[in-house]
Amino acid sequence: MPRYAMAIDTKRCVGCADCVVACQTENDVPIGYCRDWIVQETTGSFPELYLEIRSERCNHCEDAPCVRTCPTGASHIAEGGIVLVEHDDCIGCKACIESCPYDARFVHPEGYIDKCTFCIHRVKEGKDPACVSVCPTHAMIFGDLEDPNSEISRALRTRKYKVLIPEAGTTPHVYYLL
């Protein structure tokens, strides 16, 4: 079984938000909503500054609180560890939204909860998620952690990285290369 994950190179990322638009057009995300977004975090004070630019989305956690709190089983872990929402089973109760430490979910205007799917429809065809495939600076890597030769496995072996809010204990699968 593969274990899909994403790594985002904060050195390469310029925060252009192409990943956001590509997700919207690929997945017909309605205008006004997004499944991924850009965060710019500045630390230090003038002139000793550090800026980290991140493309963020659902972390497809190993121990996903959204899946645990979902009363209907609509939120579930699918093939490759991808966390998905089965729209037809979703009652829009928002328990998952409350429980997600990453604020990665929203209520779709059609009433169900929506979020990043790692573009599973593309992954099944052997393609990268839309965000990864368009990134002009090649700042995003998608792949299988179970395959030691995958680009993502190699990147995580050779580069320093972090995950977001590790203290939430959810074992996220979106990594940030530093």
Binding site: V14, C16, D18, E26, L49, L51, E125, K127, V134, H138
Partner: protein, 706 residues
């Protein structure tokens, strides 16, 4: 992929080649439809400009097509009950009106009293029309309001302009020096891709900017220079390179002219001299100069792009060009390559008539180095003055929103009052269309053919733009409009192809391709036209300058009585309580032309004004609070959100350009953020080429009344 091929084969998915018009980098890509509906736009992997990857604007191009606020029908200004209103008219009525007024102006004042302002692909057809009509007054704000000083500075020094896409070999650079260049915020795609690649490979980036820009955040050295003093830093760098003997001696000896004069002229321009001017410490100036030399010739002192800052811009950019020459980076790997040019045959047309007067006549003995017409100059010369025998009477404005593009918007509006004809051709309503006599709705780039994109570069390429969708509403492509006008003016012979398809096919067949083939592949490389990118070691080379050498000492400037070697002059500083207004770009927008795009508006719906944290504290301004800005002439901005940040110096503020639309017909963008151009009531004109230095305005803060 296989599935995609299958879906394409069953017609569930269709794709059409295009090159993007969301900015002017012209990346080639594919427009996809799913079940007959617009779906997405993806880069074409065969394209050297995009390498298969678009920027957010290109990806969001679908929004340009779907925007419900688009211009829908031709509009004619009419009087109704004493008020001026727009009336929807037929294409025939609109075109007849324009042709009639053009003939009147030609008869009364001469055809050269009509000028064209143009930015974008379709402008070329109106250019042909105007030349055929007898005027060569064709201007683009991209010259005197943007990169003109850069092109002239490089022409003076190396005999060749930098051009677009830039000939910078960033991907192979080991050291990249950026002065106020917003790579990463300015998403010129190929360049940003190379920049990121260079950063990932550990190139040393040196960024000089009063603001901790995206590029600064990726740099080994950030030099937060005092705004307006970059030329002093450049001269000090040149001083270090010369006096520490760090320059490329063989290259300088073989290829340059005027080294001894340069050395003599800059003998006092030490880092210690530059320190109090720039606030950059002498050891940092020395250290960064040594970094440049250590990596030379794979060092690029980037020429910048928008360089109309302080009115001495050609000289400042020339100082950077001189630095590149000393480092031996022109014509070297990791420096500047020699781009290959591509050629396409043109259908034969009659010779254009000779013109009696051109825009230069409006400015006797001024701006001798300018190679292109000045938008600001044409605007000035529309206001009647005793120094001119004739002023402009007609403007055709293609895709440029002049009130938000030219500085001193009050002057633009005054000029408009003197016109007998103002035609605006655009996709969306904008401030300029509100002032027009006739508005012609153009269809978007996704609904039309245009000229083949002919890109120079490492390998020259052509790309096809074909219509993915039928034009919405009653919008029409520029080719059709220009040809229809030509017919009415008796100039049809200048548009020999009845349709643009016929023209494209003629050109493509001449190079062994066809329209049919290009529809399938979108992009074609022309490797047979590629030339070598770099100089060979010790190669004899004649540069296209008067001396045949790289002119450290400019013989042309000497002849015109300007400083042959750049000299530093101090610029006015902000008065107490005022801050220098800086402006720039955001990656998801191209000026004001994308702020109403449904997809892109969502990513950034308003701009903010960046204010240093300590300054904000003094003024009691909180992050996220709406304030207004007031400039030195008492002109106020619309309300704009304060971004209180450590990322900018205490003596400047920064805004992204293109916001604060005042046209209510732009329903999404209307009233969001503030327009920097409104605050640019003062300019410093570059005496060499007429560029309008725009970073010479100062603003103070006014709290919004609740």
């Amino acid at each position: 992929s296989k599935d995609e091929q299958n879906l394409l084969a069953d017609g569930k998915i269709e794709r059409t080649p295009t090159y993007c018009e969301m900015c002017f980098w012209k990346c080639a890509g594919w427009v996809y439809k799913k079940d007959g509906k617009p779906w997405k736009i993806i880069g074409n992997p065969d394209d050297p400009n995009s390498r298969g990857r678009f920027c957010p604007r290109g990806t969001g191009g679908i929004g340009a097509y779907t925007d419900p606020d688009r211009l829908k029908k031709p509009l004619l200004r009419v009087e109704k009950n004493g008020k001026q209103v727009f009336k929807e008219v037929s294409w025939d009525e609109a075109l007849d009106f324009i042709a009639g007024r053009m003939k009147d102006i030609a008869q009364k004042h001469g055809p050269e009293c009509i000028a064209l302002f143009s930015h974008g692909s379709g402008g070329s057809y109106f250019k042909t029309l105007l030349h055929a009509f007898g005027s060569n007054n064709v201007a683009a704000p991209s010259y005197a309001q943007c990169r003109g000083p850069r092109e002239e500075a490089y022409m003076l020094t190396f005999g060749e302009a930098v051009g677009s896409p830039e000939r910078t070999d960033i991907i192979n650079a080991k050291c990249l020096v950026l002065l106020g260049s917003h790579i990463g915020e300015n998403m010129h795609n190929g360049q940003v891709q190379e920049f990121s690649e260079a950063v990932a490979h550990g190139a040393t980036v040196i960024t000089v900017d009063p603001r901790f820009s995206t590029a600064a955040s990726k740099s080994k050295y950030w030099l937060p220079i005092k705004p307006g003093t970059d030329l002093a830093l450049l001269l000090a760098w040149i001083h270090v390179i010369i006096y520490e003997e760090l320059y490329d001696k063989e290259y300088v000896k073989k290829y340059t002219f005027g080294f001894e004069q340069l050395k003599e002229a800059l003998k006092d321009k030490t880092p210690e001299w530059a320190y109090p001017i720039t606030t950059i410490k002498p050891h940092v100036i020395r250290q960064t100069a040594r970094e440049m030399a250590k990596n030379a010739p794979a060092t690029i002192v980037h020429p910048g792009r928008h360089v109309t800052w302080y009115g001495d811009d050609t000289q400042r950019v020339r100082a950077g060009a001189i630095l590149n020459a000393l480092l031996g980076s022109w014509g070297r790997r990791g420096g500047f390559y020699f781009p290959s040019k591509a050629h396409l045959p043109k259908m034969p047309i009659p010779k254009f008539p000779n013109v009696k007067r051109d825009w230069r006549k409006a400015f006797p003995n001024k701006y001798p180095v300018a190679h292109l017409a000045l938008s600001s100059g044409i605007c000035d010369a529309t206001i009647p003055s005793p120094e001119r025998e004739c002023s402009f009477k007609g403007w055709i404005v293609y895709g440029t929103n002049l009130p938000m593009t030219l500085p001193q918007p009050e002057k633009t509006l005054e000029a408009i009052q003197h016109l007998e004809l103002l035609v605006a051709i655009d996709i969306l309503p904008a401030e300029i269309t509100g002032w027009a006599d006739v508005v012609l709705p153009e269809c978007t780039y996704l609904e039309r053919y245009d000229n083949l994109r002919l890109s120079p570069g490492r390998v020259p390429s052509i790309a096809l733009r074909a219509p993915a969708f039928e034009p919405k509403y009653e919008s029409k492509p520029a080719y059709w409009m220009a040809r229809e006008l030509a017919k009415r003016l008796g100039l049809e012979d200048y548009f020999p192809a009845k349709t643009i398809e016929e023209y494209l096919d003629y050109q493509l067949k001449a190079i062994g391709s066809s329209l049919e083939e290009m529809k399938k592949i979108g992009v074609k490389l022309l490797p047979e036209e590629a030339q070598k990118l770099y100089l060979e070691d010790g190669e004899d080379f004649e540069f296209p300058t008067p001396t045949g050498k790289i002119e450290l000492y400019s013989t042309i400037l000497d002849e015109y009585g300007f400083d042959p070697i750049p000299q530093y002059t101090a610029h006015e500083e902000p008065p107490e309580g005022y801050y220098r207004l800086l402006y720039g770009r955001a990656p998801m927008h191209t000026f004001g032309r994308t702020t109403n795009n449904p997809n892109l508006h969502d990513l950034m719906e308003e701009n903010t004004v960046w204010i240093n944290s300590k300054v904000a504290k003094q003024w009691g301004i909180k992050n996220g609070e709406y304030i207004t800005l007031e400039n030195q002439d008492g002109v106020r901005s619309t309300p704009v959100k304060a971004k209180v940040t450590e990322r900018i110096r205490h003596d400047a503020v920064f805004m992204v350009h293109g916001f604060g639309h005042s046209d209510k017909r732009l329903r999404r963008a209307y009233g969001k953020g503030a327009d920097d151009q409104r605050l640019i009531t003062r300019v410093k004109i570059d005496p060499l080429m007429g560029g309008t230095g725009m970073r010479v305005n100062f603003v103070t803060f006014r709290k919004e009344e609740a």
